[in-house]
């Protein structure tokens, strides 16, 4: 493990990409993530990475497709409007089962929006975004350290499952500076053979074709079933989450990314005020930690979901809870980050309501 450095989230991510053996980065500037491209344009190139600023996000994702198809580690990064442009490419990559890493430094939307952080792309990231029945594996960092760590994990998961992986960060995580250290990672040891790659057909094998076109429905259904089976395995094996103070929690907060940081502080404040609050922080948004939420729902009185959007992940919490406890939502939109105090206020009012309910039902 390297020494700790103070780095900006975007730059930590970029540095991790170099160390994780990324062979090709194809990107386009967009606030708040242009530093990824800029850092790699200098550092990445100096250390042997192909780094290309391209003409659009549309071009970038398709270059990632081509590069990933050669078996190399390929990635791109962008922010919400640019990620929208990449949706076609992501559907193709998922269907052709190519490994790659895509980073979304989520900004306020919809439309051109704002450059401030937001979580408005949750649906886009986890429910598709592009056409057809596919899923990205989605990792949600909530610190600069995780911005770096998830790059290694992302490439490993992508290779393991031949699936695109998205790191869903946000503008604040991209811009803020925290201490980070880079793990010991041996690229050669972590590389896996890719016999399906298009590298030029030797006489010893048939040609490799990378495509997502299967005109006959019977064949297309087979492909889809294979993808669904893959997602089933991913759901079984790759769920990641963090819990804080849940053992004796009476009210559970659920939040990811930056919202989770806010919730963590809110939980501390709540405890200080005598409220038994706990936090569940999903780390993988796909596969979603449905089981643990379902389990915790048996224990707590209420759940509060905190997001920086109009209410997106709250739907997955409601699905997990299956109506067993009330699920409420608190969110800010447009790039505004809720404060721990705001969340505490909401928590307190929820507990008061609960108290009134209990008192009137003695």
């Amino acid at each position: 493990m390297s020494d700790f450095q103070l780095m900006k989230g975007n730059e930590a991510l970029a540095e991790a990409a170099i160390r994780a053996g990324c062979d090709g980065y194809f990107g386009y500037p967009i606030t708040p993530q242009s530093e990824v491209l800029e850092y790699l344009a200098e550092e990445g190139r100096n250390r042997g990475m192909v780094v290309l600023q391209v003409e659009s996000e549309l071009a970038a994702i398709n270059m990632v497709y081509g590069a990933a198809g050669t078996g190399k580690r390929a990635m791109t990064s962008s922010s919400s409007p640019g990620i929208s442009l990449m949706q076609e490419g992501l559907s193709y990559i998922a269907s052709a089962e190519l490994p790659c890493l895509v980073v979304n430094v989520n900004r306020g939307g919809p439309g051109l929006g704002t450059i401030q952080p937001s979580q408005g792309d949750y649906f886009q990231s986890t429910k598709g975004g592009g056409h057809g029945d596919y899923h990205l594996i989605v990792l949600a960092p909530s610190s600069v350290q995780e911005m770096a760590d998830f790059v290694y994990d992302g490439f490993d998961l992508a290779d393991k499952y031949r699936n695109p992986v998205m790191i869903l960060a946000d503008g604040a995580l991209g811009q803020m500076m925290e201490k980070v250290s880079f793990r010991d990672y041996n690229v050669a040891e972590r590389s896996i053979p890719k016999p399906w790659a298009t590298v030029g057909k030797p006489s010893s094998r048939e040609r490799n074709i990378i495509t997502s076109l299967h005109i006959q429905s019977e064949k297309m259904e087979v492909i889809n079933k294979r993808l669904q089976e893959k997602y089933r395995i991913i759901r079984e094996q790759e769920v990641r989450y963090q819990t804080v103070h849940v053992d004796d929690a009476e009210i559970l907060l659920v939040g990811y990314g930056l919202a989770a940081r806010v919730c963590h502080r809110a939980v501390e404040l709540a405890r200080h005020h005598g409220i038994a609050a706990g936090l569940l922080r999903p780390i993988t948004l796909f596969p979603y930690p449905t089981e643990i939420i379902h389990t915790l729902a048996q224990q707590v009185e209420k759940i509060l979901v905190v997001e920086m959007n109009s209410g997106q992940m709250v739907e997955d919490v409601r699905l997990a809870v299956e109506g067993t406890v009330p699920v409420e939502f608190f969110g800010r939109m447009g790039g505004i980050i809720p404060s721990p105090e705001e969340v505490l206020t909401k928590l307190t009012s929820m507990m008061k309501t609960q108290q009134q309910y209990e008192e009137s039902h003695v």
């Binding site: 062979d23 090709g24 194809f26 192909v50 290309l52 391209v54 003409e55 659009s56 549309l58 071009a59 970038a60 398709n62 270059m63 990632v64 497709y65 081509g66 590069a67 990933a68 198809g69 050669t70 190399k72 390929a74 076609e88 490419g89 193709y92 052709a96 298009t198 590298v199 030029g200 057909k201 030797p202 006489s203 040609r207 490799n208 074709i209 990378i210 495509t211 997502s212 076109l213």
Partner: protein, 264 residues
């Protein structure tokens, strides 16, 4: 006329279908130029001995299934994105031979941005651009290269300038970019045209080996089904109507515009 008996005793075979074409029956309409282009492309790959080092990119269009016929590693690109996909491949494998194969919609409509920028960056690969002024696969709609007055399913009264603009001579534009090295326009409807085309393909692959930069070969071709003609009629119509707008010949050679070319 009766059928003659074929005897090959005392003869040697001087031409047969290249091994770099698969045995799969090509789905193209009878007389379609795609078949000839595939054949010549693979013949050159065979002659240069580069089958094991070549990667192709197929477009969306009639030739979406090109990978069923071309016996090299291939990737299918989304519509219009072949230039970007080819860039991704070539940047990762700079010593391999990479080509993209596109029609007029793929390259000059939806793919205009990727096409122009790949040329502008001087990407060291070959682009084969089959231009038949119509969208064949989807049923005969207008293409950017459709001629004025030409009837298609979306220009039933003929293409009009005031609503649909002009036929798009994108090849000349690409030749203007300093990143393009060899830009040339060919046909494949006569034996001589095919011979010249084969020379151009060989030259382009040689340039790629020498890392000279971006090569584009436009093939002005027919679409018997879309144009609603027999193959022979279509080739005559092509000579009379397509060639004046898309003149056959070299536009840029060794990085320099050819004097009196259609780009001047």
């Amino acid at each position: 006329m009766s059928e003659a008996t074929v005897l090959t005793e005392g003869m040697e075979c001087i031409w047969q279908k290249p091994a770099t074409l698969t045995d799969t029956l090509m789905h193209y309409c009878p007389g379609c130029g795609h078949g000839v282009v595939h054949k010549v492309l693979m013949e050159v790959v065979q002659e240069l001995g580069i089958q094991s080092e070549t990667i192709g990119v197929a477009p969306v269009g009639c030739s979406v299934f090109a990978y069923n016929y071309l016996n090299v590693d291939m990737q299918e690109a989304a519509h219009g994105r072949a230039a970007a996909v080819a860039t991704g491949i070539k940047r990762m494998l700079p010593d391999k031979y990479v080509f993209s194969y596109q029609g007029d919609g793929d390259l000059a409509a939806i793919g205009t941005g990727e096409t122009m920028h790949a040329a502008n960056r001087g990407e060291n690969f070959l682009v084969i651009f089959v231009n038949n002024a119509i969208y064949g696969m989807t049923g005969g709609q207008m293409a950017p290269t459709t001629l004025l007055g030409m009837k298609t399913s979306t220009t039933p009264e003929g293409r009009k300038v005031d609503t649909q603009g002009f036929p798009f001579r994108i090849t000349e534009l690409i030749a203007m970019l300093p990143g393009s090295y060899y830009v040339t326009r060919h046909a494949v409807h006569t034996p001589n045209a095919v011979r010249y085309f084969k020379k151009a393909v060989t030259k382009a692959f040689t340039h790629q080996k020498e890392k000279k930069g971006y090569c584009l070969i436009e093939v002005v071709s027919n679409c018997p089904s879309g144009w609603k003609m027999t193959p022979l009629e279509a080739n005559k119509w092509m000579e009379q109507n397509m060639f004046p707008v898309y003149p056959i010949g070299d536009i840029k050679v060794d990085g320099k515009l050819v004097a009196k070319s259609s780009a001047q």
